[in-house]
């Protein structure tokens, strides 16, 4: 009798794969809008035409009043208000600028200084003609060539920042995303990493501060931005990356601003989310390899056993 098993196996595998293709890749392709990556080029923003001078940038930043709202810890300039009060004043706590030059794209920084709502892609929410002012005041120049001045300020920010490769995933995330998004599984709330408290009273006080901050943020954003602990599992990496690049591409009209991170920083943000939502991925890879080796050996022995037992049956 002809051995039909290979044909039967082919039929089973064929129908299983067709079903898999239809309910997984194909259905998800239909259900979810595909957004192509723009490679964090920020092509809609003009390139810097002037070479910046960091020393002059430092004077400009002090003179323009940036530090009235932003801290620059690395230069010894602390935040004028704590996070809760800052959020009550501006809606969200303005970021520390120590590493802004390393985390954010220079074109984006320059555009942001000149017109925050435009660079952040939130002009639908902050329309000056309707009196809706973005809490960050645009820089209209100090009397000289505004493009030169902005280039100087960006050069200053880059000069004080760590080298891009020294920025950790947590630093990139906390600065670019962490003032709106909590990551509870990394003990991160919008006002910082939750300390370990000895007394319940202190923990409750801290909790109240978090709630106060979140109330301001909710009023500012329209809703509380989601906790991102499991986002690496609930959204795929391509979605997260293209969302960071331009939130409007995915959620037209969202209050979430484009934050202007470099491609490298975006990868670090995603790495931070992997650490939060999929921290055992390295263990999974190594255990997976050993398990596969074990199972293949098991299958070989099972095959040899079958051969031996069936020798007498034919």
């Amino acid at each position: 009798m002809k051995n039909k098993e290979p044909l039967i196996l082919a039929v089973v595998v064929f129908f299983s794969l067709v079903t898999y293709y239809l309910v997984e890749p194909y259905a998800h392709h239909v259900m979810h809008k595909h957004v192509d990556s723009e490679n964090f080029a920020y092509a809609d923003l003009p390139a810097l035409t002037k070479t910046g001078d960091a020393a002059s940038g430092q004077d400009l930043i002090l003179g323009a009043g940036c530090t009235g709202c932003h801290s620059i810890e690395v230069a010894g300039m602390p935040a004028p208000m704590d996070a809760v009060m800052a959020a009550q004043s501006y809606g969200v706590n303005p970021p520390d600028l120590s590493n802004a030059g390393a985390i954010y794209d220079e074109k984006f920084l320059a555009a942001l200084i000149k017109n925050p709502a435009h660079a952040l892609k939130v002009e639908h929410k902050f329309d000056e003609s309707k009196g809706q002012m973005h809490p960050m005041i645009a820089f209209y120049g100090m009397g000289g060539d505004i493009d030169q001045e902005v280039a100087d300020m960006v050069a200053y920010l880059k000069s004080i920042a760590l080298k891009p490769e020294e920025i950790t995933p947590a630093m990139a995330f906390e600065n670019a995303c962490g003032r709106c998004h909590a990551v509870a599984y990394e003990k991160w709330s919008q006002i910082g990493t939750e300390p370990n408290f000895k007394y319940e009273k202190d923990a409750l006080e801290y909790g109240i501060r978090v709630i106060e901050y979140q109330d301001s943020l909710k009023a500012y954003m329209g809703k509380l931005p989601p906790d991102l602990s499991m986002y690496i599992r609930s959204r795929n990496e391509h979605f997260i990356s293209t969302l960071i690049e331009n939130p409007q591409n995915h959620l037209a009209g969202t209050a979430m601003p484009r934050v202007g991170v470099t491609a490298e920083s975006a990868e670090k943000v995603i790495e931070h989310l992997r650490n939060a939502g999929d921290p055992k991925r390295h263990e999974r890879a190594s255990v997976g390899m050993y398990t596969m080796i074990y199972i293949v050996i098991f299958a070989i022995f099972a095959f040899l056993w079958k051969k031996q037992v069936w020798r007498d049956l034919h």
Binding site: M1, K4, I8, M31, P226, S234, N236, A299, W305, K306
Partner: protein
């Protein structure tokens, strides 16, 4: 009372009390299996192994899972996935096995249909198998509630709503099932109980029945041949192992079972470590939120075909056809009027019926997941009609089938 003598060995001691030799013969060495069967006959063992993986991984998960609406999501995604050593492994094994077990069940089912293994004394095997399918479905659904993610919550909402019965508006029944107006603590608590106690007990009992149902009619074979098991087993025991048409379950067929299990486990663990996404829906990694309906709500892939029979019609008709789809497979042995118990390829019209049924159920499965918009809803609508029509036609086409 039986007469007991002083035991000569431990085995003898056990033999006098438990008849272990007899049990071994009945269950293993003199449980006769036809030789002309292929690897599809090993799916039973593959299912046993998968069920064992589900039980063992489930026991580990149960140690850390917290069945409260406040704690469930955290216990699954933080405690088990991050804190517990290898908790992620148990969860991935559990999640993937819960999905793959249905793939094997469907292969097992269609094998039975193709080879006519539900006829001529094998009706109880088929019926107990379909009851197992129902029990596994309930087990899968109740388990899906437990992580208390968005899909748990909304699937729970949608499925319990079905019990309102459309125009009957039996909202009281829905509330009674939920223990609340919406899925909440009472709902989670009772589905937890069902998942870890009542349904597993039912499954274990049904597996016993399913195996028991197999003993008297024996396993079918791939040629639909009627085998004289007494004569053939005597031939085997007399030493003509090669000439006999039957073999021992153990070790003869079990060695092949294990070979198939080995290949299956390569596939299974590949999915566990490298391709688990299909079994763990991304949407369920968002915590349950009763104020935020997901854009697309769909069941796991193995329920999609029956979901698509519900969806394209008006509420009442959809529910009636959905109920029809749930029970109709159980009646297969009685709807098939043909006297032939041979593979479908020798049964004329029935062969066409079989392949159309298989392909149509895959189409229904695909349309059940795709959004309800054209062309998918139209395809789904006609597929559902074809499904129902096929079952109505089955008695007719089998009645006129020629005896082979």
């Amino acid at each position: 009372m039986a007469h007991f003598t002083k035991a000569t060995s431990i085995k003898d001691w056990l033999n006098q009390r438990l008849a272990v030799d007899k049990v071994e013969k009945v269950m293993m060495s003199e449980y006769w299996i036809p030789k002309n069967i292929n690897f599809l006959w090993a799916m039973g063992m593959v299912l046993v192994i998968t069920f064992a993986l589900l039980v063992v991984s489930g026991i580990f998960l149960l140690m850390y899972y917290v069945p409260t609406v406040e704690g469930a999501f955290y216990s699954v995604n933080y405690t088990i996935m991050r804190e517990v050593d290898f908790g992620w492994l148990w969860r991935h094994i559990h999640g993937v096995a819960a999905s793959v077990v249905f793939l094997i069940i469907y292969i097992h089912m269609f094998t039975g249909i193709y080879y006519g293994s539900y006829k001529k004394g094998r009706e109880m095997i088929w019926i107990s198998g379909m009851l197992l399918f129902v029990a596994f479905s309930a087990e899968a659904f109740s388990g899906y509630m437990l992580p208390w993610g968005q899909m748990s919550y909304w699937a729970g909402m949608v499925i319990t709503n079905l019990f309102a019965g459309g125009s009957l508006h039996a909202d009281g029944l829905v509330e009674w099932i939920r223990g609340d107006y919406v899925p909440a603590q009472a709902f989670l608590g009772r589905f937890f109980m069902l998942h870890v106690l009542l349904i597993p007990l039912a499954i274990i009992g049904l597996i016993g029945l399913h195996f028991g149902a197999l003993r008297i009619p024996h396993v079918n074979n791939q040629d639909g041949e009627e085998i004289d098991f007494d004569a053939e087993s005597k031939k085997y025991l007399d030493g003509d192992k090669a000439g006999s048409k039957v073999m021992r379950f153990a070790n003869d067929f079990m060695s092949k079972d294990m070979m198939v299990v080995g290949i299956y486990l390569i596939f299974f663990f590949y999915l566990v470590f490298y391709n688990y996404g299909f079994a763990m829906d991304p949407v369920n990694f968002d915590p349950a939120d009763g104020l935020k309906t997901p854009a697309h709500i769909y069941p796991e892939w193995y329920f999609l075909w029956s979901y698509e029979i519900l969806r394209p019609f008006s509420v009442d008709l959809g529910l009636i056809l959905f109920a029809f789809a749930q029970v109709i497979f159980v009646l297969l042995p009685f709807l098939d009027r043909s006297p032939n118990s041979v593979p479908a390829n020798r049964r004329g019209m029935f062969a066409i019926w079989f392949w159309v049924m298989l392909v149509n159920m895959i189409i229904l499965t695909a349309m059940g997941k795709l959004p309800p918009e054209d062309p998918f809803s139209t395809i789904g609508f006609y597929s559902a009609i074809v499904f129902v029509g096929q079952w109505l036609l089955l008695p007719v086409i089998t009645m006129f089938e020629k005896k082979v």
